[in-house]
């Protein structure tokens, strides 16, 4: 019996196990334990949540390996960590630590303004952000085994996540009605690999699991994204920048499972305390938006 590791099935498969779940940003072992206790299906280990990265300014990089290892020790659920766009050495380091997934993330300051990491070169799977189907399929073409909307991280404003999810899902629907002869032009116009465009048309779905991210702050936000058709939800600043993180985290987990049941959503939305303060994306200067990072 020969066994193989790091295969495409393995990489995509872990994301399939996360479906219907909530992945939470945590900055230390204590927060990781709170997240696991609340029912998170995975945690994202990082030094500062996006809201603080925005507030602090400067260059945002991969987190200290010591902090990531402490979080890996603290919980039994999968641990993800972020590297900068195009910074394949940060990715090599994260892989050597044994993280379960790498997020090549626009939340950190990009290391390469033209190229992303060739993710097929790694055994560890990657998740990448997208705003539309072209960007999603380019990342999958490079080897991303999971996709998330970019939204606008660290704002607590769900509007961009909705825009990106609607764009991706709308394009999938549009492809269903197209003739085969139209696919090459679709690929050209969207900057997407032709073979993947063809696959999406044939299957009627993204080739990999697709989560929402970037601005989810309440159980209603999470259920909104699920009803729009994503497979699960990342919550970054929305939990540990709120008044009662443990309670809000548990409420968002419940809302993702029962996303179609308004009476349960009403129940879990009660008395959650202060939500994160939030920033209105429509009033934000273009230069402060993170979603434009990525090519």
């Amino acid at each position: 019996m020969e066994s193989k590791t790091g295969t495409w099935t393995e990489k995509k498969g872990l994301a399939q196990m996360l479906k219907g779940g909530v992945i939470m940003d945590v900055v230390n072992a204590e927060q990781a334990r709170i997240a696991e206790e609340a029912g998170a299906c995975a945690v994202m280990a990082l030094e500062r949540v996006p809201a603080d990265i925005r507030a602090d300014g400067g260059v945002a990089r991969m987190s200290d390996p010591d902090m990531i290892l402490k979080i890996m020790d603290a919980v039994s659920i999968p641990v993800m960590a972020k590297c900068r766009i195009g910074h394949f050495v940060e990715a090599q380091i994260l892989q050597s630590l044994g993280v379960d997934y790498i997020d090549e993330s626009e939340v950190l300051t990009p290391a390469d303004e033209e190229h992303h990491i060739l993710k097929h070169n790694f055994k560890v799977p990657f998740v990448c952000g997208c705003r539309n189907i072209g960007e999603a399929l380019r990342r999958i073409g490079e080897g991303a085994a999971m996709i998330r909307t970019k939204g606008e991280a660290g704002t607590g404003d769900v509007v961009e996540a909705v825009r990106h999810a609607r764009s991706v899902i709308g394009s999938i629907r549009q492809l269903q009605t197209m003739g085969d002869e139209e696919l090459m032009t679709f690929a050209k116009l969207n900057g997407a690999p032709y073979d993947l465009v063809k696959e999406v048309k044939e299957t009627g779905r993204m080739p990999v699991v697709n989560f929402a991210a970037g601005g989810v702050a309440t159980p209603a936000d999470a259920a909104l994204m699920m009803q729009l058709g994503v497979d699960g939800v990342f919550v970054g600043s929305g939990i540990f920048k709120s008044g009662d993180p443990a309670k809000r985290a548990a409420a968002i987990v419940k809302s993702v499972t029962h996303y179609m049941d308004a009476s349960i959503l009403a129940e879990v939305s009660r008395n959650l305390g202060e939500a994160m303060v939030g920033r209105n994306v429509s009033q934000m200067p273009e230069g402060e938006k993170l979603a434009g990072r990525g090519w």
Binding site: M1, E2, S3, K4, T5, G6, T7, T9, E10, G13, L14, Q16, M17, L18, K19, G20, G21, E36, A38, G39, A40, C41, A42, M72, S76, I77, P78, Q95, G98, V99, D100, Y101, K123, V124, P125, V253, K254, V256, T257, H258, D261
Partner: protein, 192 residues
């Protein structure tokens, strides 16, 4: 024949599409009332801690234990953990199967693997003989089994990865991630 798939978290949609492929009616189970009229239940892969917590909160533990006394249940990966009696740590378990399970027994994601298995019981039941291709993802192993439990499959080193106790079935791997419907057919034969 109607098979429920526990839909609290995990890859329940993958199980549902395998069942549809073999012409079985399915229902997503999120609350106790969804078990009404169901002939068998699949507990999918996912995070066992998440699934366990949600099962406690939505008062599914007792109804599931009761259901398992007279119906077929199959747990894949996280589902196998949830069916077991003992995992050596404190998290909600149904305790329906007399098996001891170790979570993440092969290591982290970079250690996850695919391999071919010889599963005689499955080959006999489905009248086939080609190897069963199994996908393990941060997979558990079945450390030990009780007297009434039959071992269905083990790795070359002897570690148990599939077991059956009456109508209850546990697999460390994910038949729902392959195109091979033989395990789903085998489970339907237990549920009938």
């Amino acid at each position: 024949m109607k098979i429920g798939v526990l839909a609290l978290q995990g890859d329940f949609a993958e199980h549902i599409s395998m069942l549809k492929k073999i012409g079985v009616e399915t229902v997503e189970v999120r609350l106790p009332k969804h078990l009404d009229g169901v002939d068998g239940l699949i507990i999918p892969g996912g995070e066992s801690t998440t699934i366990g917590k949600l099962a406690v909160i939505y008062e599914l533990m007792e109804p599931l234990k009761e259901f398992g006394k007279s119906h077929a249940i199959w747990g894949t990966c996280a589902g196998a953990i949830f069916l077991s009696k003992d995992i050596g740590r404190d998290q909600p378990l149904l305790g329906l199967m007399d098996i001891k399970v170790q979570r993440n027994a092969f290591g982290r994601q970079v250690d996850s693997f695919e391999t071919d298995l010889e599963i005689d019981e499955l080959f006999k039941a489905t009248g086939t003989e080609h190897p069963y291709h199994a996908v393990f993802i941060r997979a558990p192993i079945i450390e030990s089994v009780g007297a009434k439990v039959k071992v269905l499959a083990a790795l070359e080193d002897g570690r148990i990865i599939a077991a059956q106790e009456g109508k209850l079935l546990a697999t460390s791997f994910h038949p729902e991630l392959t195109g091979d419907t033989r395990f789903h057919e085998y489970f339907i034969s237990l549920a009938s």
